[in-house]
Symmetry: C2
Subunit: 791 residues, 2 copies
């Protein structure tokens, strides 16, 4: 493989160096200004305490380093005509990114009020860490960002997600050395084994070793150089080191390292694209070791500040109690010589403004960082073509995810490089294997003879066992304007509880920003769910992600529990076509009776909740009891219970309700999908007993419906019982089985007389008999496993 080694002698001219240094000073000046100043932004007047914010908060430590990186990225973007986005991993780089996008003009284009003049600069400063203003980390409100600071760990997987299927894009990803200690980031270095140099873009990681986290040193800054280099070579990267503190020296080193890195990226891509070289490249990365709080005060109050953890937040306290520090602050700010950088009106002088790329090449204006701008609609096949034929309810057995797999392979075929499936090596186990008939898994490490479905260019990313990576990649992919889905075991999606929360927060906030365009929803398919774990048992049982998601803002989250395969098709079709939501779809993979033909399924899913007339017998009179369910396994048991009830008590009027869209249970005032009280009451009645068989924890249904009039709601669901056992016995242990349901109906109604007592006794005997059978034979009694509707 040819590398243009001539480039490694690249020397930054003194003139350009001076200009870049001046630009860097401008960004640093704006960063300090944001943290401190309320007025007098250009320091035209001597600085007074009244010019300083009443409450000075924010983070300085990472900002100068990121400003340094930004100006150097600008240089290579211009020189090499790069298409580049900037991902700011460190928790609190807000001042830096805001400063840079302001300098390049992209900030004022989005926020015209923050104009490129003294008045605008004043507003820029004031809004930072100010009530109603902007946070000290990079946020949705920051132009050019697809990655929020705050919670750490996901920058690198976001960067990879962004460049998948974007062959011209380079994601420059600044990884803080604090963030690098998190688990998700630590494993994200291996993302390079999933990148295709031919059809994907590149990630340029810049590890920013500034040596400290909040108050501790960082691990990677405190191991020998040799170990650090071995670590990254072991992760498959070629590190370029840029280390020091003297500005001129550092500019030269950084410029050289950037040249080398860009040159290598280009060469690898050329080799792959023009020469068909499909060996995994040793991609370049940069390790920037610079002082924390670089260019800040050397010491404050007798304690060293620049280069220590003390520069993490506000280096110099300035307030009533520290009024004399105003002078120190002024001295510090004046060290940047703003008068040389901005004209009298507060605008960056043109000589420096010329250093910026222009138009969409500015990282604050790159459309990939506002993915909705680039979004192409997903093309969806007609889901009806993948339907199971159902002659009558319960007459056919089907497996939800198997049916869905066929549909998903149709989606893959139609969407070229606009759709991907993500999973932690569970796609086959979740029985979505049909997708491998149309696409491989993307994989760029070694392949051996017995391997299946691996190639450098697959549509499916499921070959790393890391839910964090799946979630991070998918988020990056969606945020840059594409479509996708994450399939996971239901229990282990909890691993990304916190990542989901942060993405939901991102979506909530972006909805309030008119310039942020719609992006595709994040779709979860939770398969291999709680109700059948066979040899896995208790560790694999957890339906609580539903509760977690339901706690988020109603305009962002949607929860679907289709009762059978055709409903699953209809629901997933809907989700894949939606925007700006997080959709959670729960579906099993094991054979279950099927209920609805595809037409009925479509109507039922569109309504989200409905009375199943074919299973009900209260049409003339209204019900004596309402039997409701939400989820696949629990619907089977509910219908079996109804079947028993109707056989033994033909005069009993039973209404059967099925819920697909869980948020229907909530009030319309709280969720856009919620039923009005009138609709709810017409389905559930005002006072009849409702036996509700729910897939997850029962209290979720209670809490969604707690304001409804009918207080006779009795919810069954998963109550953390059972482990290694048969499918039916697990239901019995959690009391969602047909027998417990019928017994509850008998107890609740209390008016079924001796016939009721007799049946109850029979069912209790049956439960005992089943228990003994399972203990003896290790499987369910055949007549239970084989039950069909109406028998």
């Amino acid at each position: 493989m040819e590398i243009l080694t001539s480039q490694s002698t690249f020397v930054l001219s003194d003139e350009l160096l001076e200009k870049m240094d001046a630009y860097w000073r401008a960004a640093n000046y704006l960063s300090v200004g944001q943290i401190y100043l309320y007025d007098n932004p250009l320091l035209k007047a001597p600085l007074q305490l009244s010019h300083v914010k009443p409450m000075v908060v924010g983070h300085w430590g990472t900002s100068p380093g990121q400003n340094f990186i930004y100006v150097h990225l600008n240089r290579v973007i211009k020189k090499h005509h790069l298409n580049m986005i900037y991902i700011s991993g460190p928790g609190h780089g807000g001042p830096a990114l805001v400063a840079n996008t302001y300098l390049e003009g992209s900030y004022s284009e989005v926020y015209p009020d923050i104009s490129e003049d003294e008045q605008g600069m004043k507003k820029l400063f004031t809004q930072f860490s100010f009530p109603g203003g902007i946070s000290s980390h990079v946020a949705p409100s920051t132009p050019g960002s697809i990655h929020e600071g705050g919670e750490l760990g996901y920058s690198l997987s976001h960067a990879f997600g962004a460049v998948f299927d974007n062959p011209d894009l380079i994601a420059a990803c600044v990884v803080g050395d604090g963030e690098a200690e998190t688990g998700p980031l630590a494993t994200a270095w291996h993302s390079n084994k999933f990148l295709n140099a031919k059809s994907d873009g590149a990630v340029l990681p810049i590890l920013h070793l500034n040596g400290y986290k909040i108050s501790n040193p960082t691990l990677l800054a405190r191991i020998p150089h040799e170990e650090l280099e071995q670590f990254f070579r072991g992760c498959g990267w070629k590190p370029y080191f840029v280390e020091g503190f003297e500005a001129g020296d550092m500019h030269r080193k950084m410029a050289l390292a950037m040249e080398q890195a860009i040159n290598e990226i280009r060469t690898f891509q050329k080799n792959a694209r023009e020469k068909g070289d499909d060996k995994r490249p040793l991609w370049p990365m940069i390790i920037l070791r610079s002082p924390k709080g670089w260019t800040g005060p050397k010491s404050v109050g007798g304690l060293k500040n620049e280069g220590t953890f003390r520069s993490h937040q506000v280096p110099i306290p300035v307030d009533q109690a520290h009024a004399s520090n105003v002078e120190l602050l002024e001295q510090w700010m004046k060290s940047y010589r703003a008068e040389e950088l901005f004209d009298q009106n507060g605008r960056l002088i043109s000589e420096l403004a010329e250093l910026c790329p222009t138009g969409d090449k500015r990282m604050g204006a790159n459309p990939h960082a506002n993915g909705g701008l680039l979004l192409r609609e997903i093309r969806l096949p007609d889901f009806r073509n993948f339907a199971l034929q159902i002659s009558s309810p319960g007459s056919v057995q089907g497996q939800g995810t198997v049916t869905l797999g066929n549909y998903l392979s149709g989606v893959i075929k139609l969407n070229g490089k606009n759709f991907r499936i993500f999973g932690p090596d569970e796609t086959l186990s979740n029985l979505l294997g049909a997708v491998f008939e149309v696409s491989d898994r993307q994989w760029d490490a070694q392949v051996m003879e017995e391997d299946e479905f691996l190639s450098p260019s697959g549509r499916i990313l499921d070959a790393q066992l890391s839910e964090h990576q799946c979630q991070g990649w998918l988020e990056g992919y969606l945020l840059t304007g594409r479509h996708g889905m994450f399939n996971s075991y239901e229990a282990f999606i909890r691993i990304v509880d916190s990542m989901f929360s942060q993405h939901a927060k991102w979506l909530k906030v972006t909805r309030e920003l008119p310039w942020r365009r719609d992006i595709a929803s994040l779709n979860y398919l939770l398969a291999s769910h709680v109700w059948q774990q066979d040899h896995n048992g208790f560790t694999h049982q957890d339906p609580g992600f539903l509760d977690h998601v339901a706690s988020k803002k109603a305009d962002v989250v949607r929860l679907y529990l289709p009762p059978d395969a055709n409903c699953l098709l209809s629901v997933m079709h809907h989700c894949l076509g939606s925007k700006n939501y997080v959709n959670v779809v729960v579906a099993g993979k094991h054979p279950l009776p099927q209920w609805l033909g595809i037409k009925e399924a479509e109507i039922h899913c569109a309504q989200g909740i409905g009375i199943w007339q074919w299973a009900s017998n209260d049409q003339q009179s209204g019900p004596d009891i309402v039997m409701a369910s939400c989820g696949d396994t629990v619907t089977l048991e509910l219908l079996a219970a109804v079947s028993i009830l109707r056989k033994h008590f033909p005069e009993l009027k039973v209404r059967v309700v099925n819920v697909v869209d869980l948020m229907k249970m909530q009030s319309e005032l709280e969720h856009p999908h919620g039923l009005s009280d009138a609709d709810y009451d017409s389905i559930f009645t005002l006072d009849k007993h409702i036996i509700f068989n729910f897939h997850g924890y029962p209290w979720l249904v209670h809490r969604l419906s707690y304001k409804r009039a009918n207080r006779n709601l009795h919810v069954r669901g998963y109550i953390e019982e059972g482990t290694i056992t048969t499918p039916f016995d697990l239901r019995v242990q959690n009391k969602i089985d047909r027998f417990h349901l019928v017994i509850e109906v008998i107890d609740r109604l209390g008016n079924l007389g001796s016939k009721g007592d007799y049946l109850k006794q029979q069912l209790q005997d049956k439960l005992l008999e089943h228990k003994h059978y399972v203990q003896r034979y290790g499987k369910d009694m055949p007549e239970i496993a084989g039950w069909l509707w109406g028998e």
Copy 2:
């Protein structure tokens, strides 16, 4: 540093090799038997389909490799008199660990019914992956285990947690190459920067590269040898490679590698302990590259099996549909020559049994793996000595975590090596800094001049920014019989949602195992909570961990929200002394008015809920309204509201209730701390309006109390509003502030006449005035920030 290099020429004798190989065959035989056999355990009769389980499930792939490791660990334990535990990282190594503990006799000691004879072996086989039996991963029921398979990622941090302060202990930690791809495991390699060779034990990681996960190859098995070695050297380990498949060759290599590793561990420890060498050692690790499903069928149905992903679960299907495979199974099982290994009664022959260590040296009987056996009670100082003096409610401002920090330093002083504090670099930020007056942070990487509180022997592990590591280390520390606490930002504890779940599951299951002894509770202190985030904003706001924890089994979880510093002292004192729980304590760090003297706090916390008579005026007549709160900030606002109400409506009878122990809200039938209905009703009344100001999401209170008689419960709490703003404005945006509370009381009562209407208008004006003030000055109106009770 001296390494006894003579040992590197160690050669395993042929005789011992033969015996170890035979022992390995015995363990493999028992592993296969567990997966398949229902009867005929010694294959005395020709194998029939009826001898095979009706439903064959389980995992073979990892088992032979782990059996291989176990027999080699046994050798070094015996030879070097080691004190060693075995941590099985791969998801499904159950058959191996059960087989080995059975062979060494520790299994039958715990489960006498599974005796060391043919009858016992039959039961051993039957129970595996059988209803009511044991899971296919290592579980609490497995003797010698502190680590459950199932969810992956935590083996290495558990291992480190186990050896902290256990200088003689070695944790042999088998890391599966699938698990190695998870984030938590990836960053856990860096745990070696926190280990003190002098006062801690050692971890011997054994990376088991068997090449496949479920259906994909693994990353670390598919990168060049050079990268793999660099990776681990970069992580600070010295890897010994044991690669191959031929048994004799592999035994010799493994024995040599183990000798070298143990020798190095001993040498490092000697240097540290006798020569005072405190340089971070390059600890040894072993990389075992062996075929997945080693010794299993070479191929099945024409497809290669041993050495491929196809050996992950059950290699040969044997059931009615595959009846002819019985022969293949028999052939496979006979390849282990059980007749040479077990006597006629089914007992391991003495020549092989001699290979096991004896007594507590057997890994299945090591007391460290049943930590309660070693538990020494924690010594707690008198928390009353750390109390704030409160002359009257609201007269003093205090900071909860600052007060707690003093107490915790007292705990550290009293407990030598029996207590540790864990945190992700947030201990100072959570204002627990007093602990650093009595202990450093443990840190074994480079130290520089400006660093604070770092040394190789600290009691506080807060220098890695990883919640996963904190949780994993603490779990390992507790499970081996010590005490500890995890302090975290409230929002980011969600990162370990799933780890918490698995630990809670472990606790639930161990309570049902009489031989598992009580261990100390896992205590969370969630500080820097949702109600004051200043410059951090929305990403740092999430009180939902409470909801998550509340969904677990009631006999395991406890949630405490002390309203002030003295209550925090009392609560934490209680938690630190408790056993077998997960305690979650939420407390702020910012100055707030204090309410209770230490005596009152102690009584209040012991009750968990109470009417605050000093704030109520309904003593004579019963209340017109009940004003309740749970949490520190919300209690301040509630009391301020009550103060306004009592000033403006002196005739209104207000009852003030404070909840410390959230589970009091639940019924006694659902939680051991729950109030009886009678007690609940006597506090909250049957029908009066209850305005409940809650720290977290409001629906949690609704769901805990949904079966209570009084339906007039109106809960306020965090509703996901607000970001960068002032503390009071955040409360206003979420409507938990005093003004919204009073307005709700006026609206709910509806009988306060024109005086009520007038006050409502005044308060609405006040809210508007405050909003403008905040926007203008960036801080709260001073008279609000400075409010004291009774004004």
